[in-house]
């Protein structure tokens, strides 16, 4: 599990006006691991993901991804470098079908220009079919064949979360950022989602950074856990170590403050 370091965050600080969302946080994500980011509400977890994929630009600190330290980066550049993401509140393309949503995830890998697209024959159609095949594999994997042609706006929440994971997987990401993939799910849906995450990690080789509030899920799935509170890192390590850390227990139970 202890592969080379894929992403490292060094001394990153981010504030909005006077509000400090992240203060001097450093951690790293190794290739092939499932890395959980946990913490109470407002701890800066989602802000951290937003920094990693270029939505926010930190005032201080550095981010090194695949050995390259970067200054400012735009979200589409993050996508080009293989960082995919799902959102806390589902951010699907509501007017499009499940299949189209997942196919959109292939956009970066489709190269035919507008003139071929206009004809929809020959190379453009071949390309479309090639990527359709990949998307159908993902649809099989996530067991959403029956809703392939349903507009996603009409789907129940649990399935929407699954389609969103499918769209992220269609990008064949090297680093997959999951923001509360199990929020609002029942036990069965959580078990399904956990299985998908594990398989995405083991079989599809995606390194995963996961924000989740369900401690059972976090402790089972993740290789290492980083704990944030009020924008600061208070613990970092394997699940067992984090679980017994006094500061973490205090943060979650509100004791000792």
């Amino acid at each position: 599990m202890s592969g080379e370091i894929l992403l490292s965050v060094d001394d990153v600080s981010l504030s909005f006006g006077g509000v400090r969302a992240i203060a001097d946080v450093s951690f790293d994500i190794r290739k092939g691991e499932v890395r959980a980011i946990i913490g109470p509400n407002g701890a800066g977890k989602t802000s951290m993901l937003n920094v990693v994929n270029g939505f926010y630009h930190p005032q201080k600190g550095e981010i090194t991804y695949r050995g390259r330290t970067r200054a400012r980066m735009k979200p589409h550049e993050a996508a080009e470098q293989g960082i995919a993401r799902t959102f806390q509140n589902v951010a699907l393309f509501k007017g499009m079908t499940t299949l189209d949503n997942i196919m959109t995830g292939r956009s970066l890998r489709m190269k035919r220009n507008i003139f071929w697209q206009a004809l929809r024959h020959g190379p453009a159609l071949d390309e479309e079919i090639k990527h359709r095949r990949v998307c159908e594999e993902i649809i099989d994997f996530l067991q959403i064949e029956h809703i392939r042609k349903t507009p996603v706006g009409a789907l129940p929440y649990g399935l929407q979360k699954r389609v969103e994971l499918g769209r992220a997987l269609a990008m064949e990401p090297e680093l997959l950022l999951l923001d509360e993939p199990m929020a609002g799910m029942n036990l069965e849906e959580k078990e399904d989602m956990s299985r998908f995450i594990v398989e995405a990690n083991r079989l599809r080789g995606a390194t995963i950074a996961l924000i989740e509030h369900d401690m059972g899920v976090v402790m089972d799935l993740s290789d290492r856990v980083v704990v944030l509170e009020y924008g600061r890192k208070i613990a970092d390590g394997v699940p067992d170590m984090v679980k017994s850390d006094q500061k973490v227990i205090d943060a979650y139970l509100g004791a000792g403050r």
Binding site: H76, E80, F93, G95, M96, I114, L119, E128, I129, M171
Partner: protein
């Protein structure tokens, strides 16, 4: 009963991804094309072709263009009339500079001129959205309209201030100007509109269409997938303005024969916008439905009293037509806020399983 897809198995992805995957739809389309290309030119009178079909097709094309921008990419534009004007004036200038070149070439090239202007006025779309973008395109509408009226170079220092279409031939057949027969002009318009509708439908079903819809539905997520917002939006402006520009050039060269700046005023923009709202945002066939309601329905209503033998004076018929059209639009929108295209979809879905509810 007739609209069943039972037994039509799709064994390849290509068959499943076809734009008309159901056999009956393909037959229906073939029938419509047959009527349009053969029956109407053969049996249609001057009124049907010149007053109904040619404007219907041209307005449909403009509506397809606006639908690519507003319906598919979610960028509201009120400058359609002006962009049609850009196409018309560009075509006029090119035609008078190089009269020896085929007019059809210039109609297509004027679409590219319109696309360039569209991209220029589309640049603010990265920063502003929704109603604010609509106001920015409104500025384009007024600015361009002012240019058409006040820049004499655009009308070749013509005293009348209007552009007039010279007679042009294609393969020895008169296509534009007073000598062209309505049937010839109709067939030219129909061919261009059919080809461009086919292309638009190809584009929206492929990568670019998905990219536009992604920008429309959730721009943040689209950006994360690697879609460059500015590029996607400008491409939408370019393709949309191309369609609208070609429609504008055809409007003057193949329908009106001459036009002043007022022909491309804000009324035209609104007319096209209403077409796509009533017809259905984000639908190619919806553009044709919308043009039917906005253009053909009033003509039919006007002709109705005479046909059933009622003698109502002309002014009153005009008033009644306005009122009835208005009421019908409201009724349609209450019945299906997503437009006639959605109504059509629902009807087809019902027909598939008829007589059972599902």
């Amino acid at each position: 009963m007739f609209y069943r897809e039972a037994g039509q198995y799709k064994t390849t992805y290509a068959a499943d991804m076809a734009i008309f995957p159901i056999r009956q739809d393909r037959y229906g389309l073939a029938l419509i094309l047959l009527i349009a290309f053969v029956a109407i030119p053969a049996f249609g009178n001057q009124f049907l072709i010149n007053t109904m079909m040619i404007p219907f097709l041209i307005l449909s094309l403009a509506a397809i263009g606006l639908n690519l921008l507003t319906g598919y990419t979610g960028l509201l534009s009120l400058g359609t009339g002006a962009f049609m004007g850009v196409g018309a004036y560009a075509c006029y200038k090119l035609e008078t500079f190089f009269p020896q070149v085929n007019i059809l070439v210039w109609i297509v090239v004027s679409g590219f001129v319109s696309a360039l202007v569209g991209v220029a006025f589309g640049l603010p779309s990265l920063r502003i959205k929704g109603f604010y973008l609509a106001v920015a395109t409104l500025a384009a509408q007024f600015f361009l309209e002012w240019c058409f009226a006040r820049v004499p170079w655009l009308v070749n220092y013509n005293d009348s201030g209007a552009i007039e279409v010279p007679s042009e031939t294609l393969f020895g057949l008169s296509v534009t100007g007073p000598t062209a027969t309505p049937v010839t002009r109709y067939l030219v318009v129909l061919t261009i509109v059919a080809a461009m509708a086919w292309i638009a439908s190809n584009i929206v079903h492929g990568r670019i269409g998905r990219m536009w819809m992604a920008v429309r539905d959730m721009d943040i997520a689209a950006e994360l997938i690697g879609i460059r917002l500015l590029r996607a939006k400008l491409l939408a402006f370019a393709v949309s303005s191309f369609y609208v520009g070609v429609a504008g050039a055809m409007m003057v060269f193949l329908w009106l024969g001459a036009a002043e700046a007022e022909a491309f005023n804000i009324d035209l923009s609104f007319q096209i916008l209403f077409m796509i709202i009533i017809g259905g945002l984000g639908s190619i066939v919806g553009a044709f439905f919308g043009a039917t309601i906005i253009h053909l329905l009033p003509i039919a209503l006007r002709a109705l009293p005479a046909m059933v033998g009622l003698s109502i004076d002309a002014a009153r018929i005009d008033q009644l037509t306005f009122m009835i059209t208005g009421i019908l639009i409201i009724v349609f929108l209450i019945a299906e806020p997503h437009g006639l295209a959605r109504l059509w979809q629902t009807a087809k879905q019902k027909l598939r399983v008829w007589p059972f509810p599902y």
